[in-house]
Symmetry: C2
Subunit: 463 residues, 2 copies
């Protein structure tokens, strides 16, 4: 049954690119309330796209941006039930001036692997979610039904920490009953080597505001007598990590589950090209993490502390001799298995209390938190995915870790009681969250084929 | 001759307030090029104000904002020659939302000492310079001439470090020949106790930009492998000072000339109310400087390192998991006698080179630099000022230090070969550089009287 589906995907590629472009044109930036209408337009577009594929689908409200929820009964009987997860929100496009073309005007350009789609969200996650939508479309078109039962869940707050998804999952738990969650939001090993991701780091995203005097002061008349909240903020941030890149928040490393010797050996066997990775990042040398760990270990199995934003005082042209009232830092911690975000929030609060000098106070706001995740590598779904990928790529899939965070994976496990299959088709240089984000058309195309092949693998063969 | 001059100042007060308001309405913000036209308007206003007082006065160009230069021959003979210095530029009004009224719409409000003028520049330096302009006006009006020869020099770049004043002084050295420079840009001890300032801190204003990757990176996919320039910047700033508030730039304290035992005893005798000072600053406790020095010592005789502005990465609403390309900090150092700004720039550059982690580089820009200054306390001009102040206030003037920086004082000494008389009438709570900057009308009034009395003291008595 698969061959005709794959042929249809091949024949329909240009139309699929057109549909993908339509979604990319909607500037669904979740973090900025100015884009509220666009968020809803993106959700409505997805509803209109899924309905013709046989889904009963609707927009469901949350306390934030809405969720798109759809159901397709599949063939019935003992067919497995897949929960496809994706997100229709994207990162802000700034710095906008760094883009070669308008970020919400998708553009096809030529690259080393053929055409690339360039746009905010090209890969993350609009490109990756449209791959499985196209696979479902091709199955539906060829066979008039889907080979498995499918629930589709597409949220609008992944880029801001999925704050309202968790309560939604709890409320809609029964409706979301499925055997496995399928997500395409991760990378391949390289353009010809598919990969399945089995570990994801978690994320604790905090904002620290250090407050000093209640009005701006002249640094000549007060400097030396008054604690400057910007000096204090910088000092506190500086002290968050030691000279070896280890986080100094007490207890930060206490609960970490280290990867097994076998895993480490597997990662070493991947023979990662560190230099190519660093060049792709636009830096000459590695840095910023624990110097005694390999690059892959630092990315896949070690926690981090990264300052994502800093602001305070006079930031205009030239000079102003001011001791300002306050300054703020956005600070995110990537978490690894067994680190407890709630426990770390308490430890961070205590750290701030201990490090804040007299004359200043620090406010702590938590924007989001999610624990790390590990997926069992021996599940039938993961095996089916390996077979499907082998069929499309004629090459074994690599089992990878991922430094990023996908909260759904932890919540699917904790709330819905199911594992997540992370089968992604992004490349390391796709520029997720960066200007000129792109997705290779070949990855999009073979990704859609892989999703179609996965459906074939999971189709009950007794039928 | 003085009595009628003082009477005229008293009678003319409301008109003087009107003239002062006219100048305050011109938003002459030197640091922001958007206000270029207003800068010129302020200079033209001053020319038009000085001309009727018998000055030959004109706008003189520099590489930045122009200088107003005027000459009045005075009575001739052995009359001393005074060089009045002031600045017509003001600090930016931001944060504008913190003002109770528009910053360039001067407003008179009632305060504990009578009326206060509220506006950006009310005191710094438009209010203080208009005091001596009004004293010159009253002398001119009463006697048809001035009792001494006067040169007036009013620059437009004091708030941005007077970068172009130094070359102007060098070029116009002969035209600026005088016996003493007179400046009103400092504070009184309190509203009824006049003061003469005899030490000023210098200023080195630097901007450090820390650069990392050449494009924004996803903190999940790169965090732990890549040096984050915001973490690096914060760490470097944090390490600029030790836990005791001492600057860690090598050699920073090497050349400092400590105040004498007599000076320290004099300062101690002032019996400063530390708590009132801190409450005026809107903080509960002192901090930010060397813990083992008194507040007055830290303000008048110790150098500082204050962060005046910080910016980098994502500073919008919510969260963005980005490792940005760069971050910047504006950092100013107040300097004390014998510290050499040029030497400290080299030491700071070296400090940055040593502290910047692999994967980052730090650019260093110097916005301005000026050494500290000490004025001899036994000069005839200083004695004349003490007599004049005693006459107006019926109280001895206090000899004060000042934590701020007035580059003209060092350059008058080094380039013009003359001392500077710092006779200022601001109060500590005037909010210079802050929102709702104000100047007490009683200070303005008695300041104008004091300047008139100073002219009487310096008038050749043989005439």
């Amino acid at each position: 049954m698969l061959d005709s589906v794959l042929e249809r995907i091949d024949a329909d590629l240009e139309a699929a690119i057109g549909r993908w472009s339509e979604l990319l044109k909607i500037p669904s930036v979740s973090t900025d309330s100015a884009y509220g209408d666009d968020m809803r337009r993106a959700a409505e577009w997805l509803v209109a796209t899924l309905e013709p594929l046989g889904f009963s689908v609707e927009i469901r409200e949350t306390d934030g941006h809405p969720v798109v929820l759809g159901h397709h009964p599949g063939p019935g009987g003992d067919a497995p039930h897949l929960l496809y997860y994706g997100h229709y929100d994207v990162q802000p496009p700034d710095p906008v001036e760094a883009w070669h073309a308008a970020p919400f005007q998708p553009t096809l350009v030529d690259g080393p692997y053929g055409r690339q789609m360039v746009a905010r969200g090209a890969v993350d996650d609009k490109g990756q979610l449209m791959m499985w939508v196209e696979a479902l479309r091709a199955w539906h078109a060829e066979h008039g039904e889907l080979p498995v039962a499918v629930t589709v869940l597409i949220e609008g707050e992944e880029e801001v920490g999925s704050k309202n998804l968790r309560p939604f999952l709890e409320r809609a738990k029964d409706e979301l009953a499925a055997d496995v969650c399928v997500v395409s939001d991760t990378t391949m090993w390289d353009v010809d080597t598919p990969a399945i991701t089995y570990t994801l780091r978690g994320l604790l995203y905090a904002e620290v505001t250090c407050r000093g005097p209640d009005h701006d002061l002249h640094s000549g008349f007060y400097g030396g007598a008054i604690a400057n909240p910007l000096n204090a903020l910088a000092t506190i941030i500086g002290r968050l990590r030691d000279a070896d890149g280890r986080v100094r928040v007490p207890g930060f490393y206490d609960d970490i589950e280290e990867p097994s010797r076998e895993e480490l050996a597997g990662w070493a066997a991947l023979d990662m090209d560190d230099q190519a990775f660093l060049e792709g990042a636009g830096v000459g040398v590695s840095g910023g993490g624990e110097a005694d760990r390999s690059l892959l270990e630092r990315l896949w199995s070690r926690p981090t502390c990264d300052v994502n934003g800093l602001i305070g005082g006079f930031t205009g042209e030239g000079a102003k001799t001011v001791i300002p009232t306050h300054g703020s830092a956005k600070i995110s911690f990537r978490l690894v298995p067994q680190q407890d975000p709630d426990k770390l929030v308490r430890a961070l609060r205590e750290f701030l209390d201990n490090e804040t000098p007299p004359g200043c106070v620090c406010d702590l706001t938590i924007h989001s938190s999610a624990p790390a995740i590990r997926v069992p590598t021996e599940s039938p779904y993961l095996k089916a995915a390996r077979t499907a990928l082998k069929r499309v790529y004629d090459r074994d899939a690599v089992l990878m870790g991922c430094g990023g965070s996908i909260p759904i994976a932890a919540w699917a496990r904790d709330i819905l009681g199911i594992d997540t299959l992370l089968m992604g088709f992004s490349l390391g240089d796709d520029g997720m969250h960066s200007p000129n984000e792109k997705f290779e058309v070949t990855c999009f195309h073979r990704g859609a084929r892989s999703h179609a092949a996965l459906l074939e693998e999971l189709r009950p063969k007794s039928r």
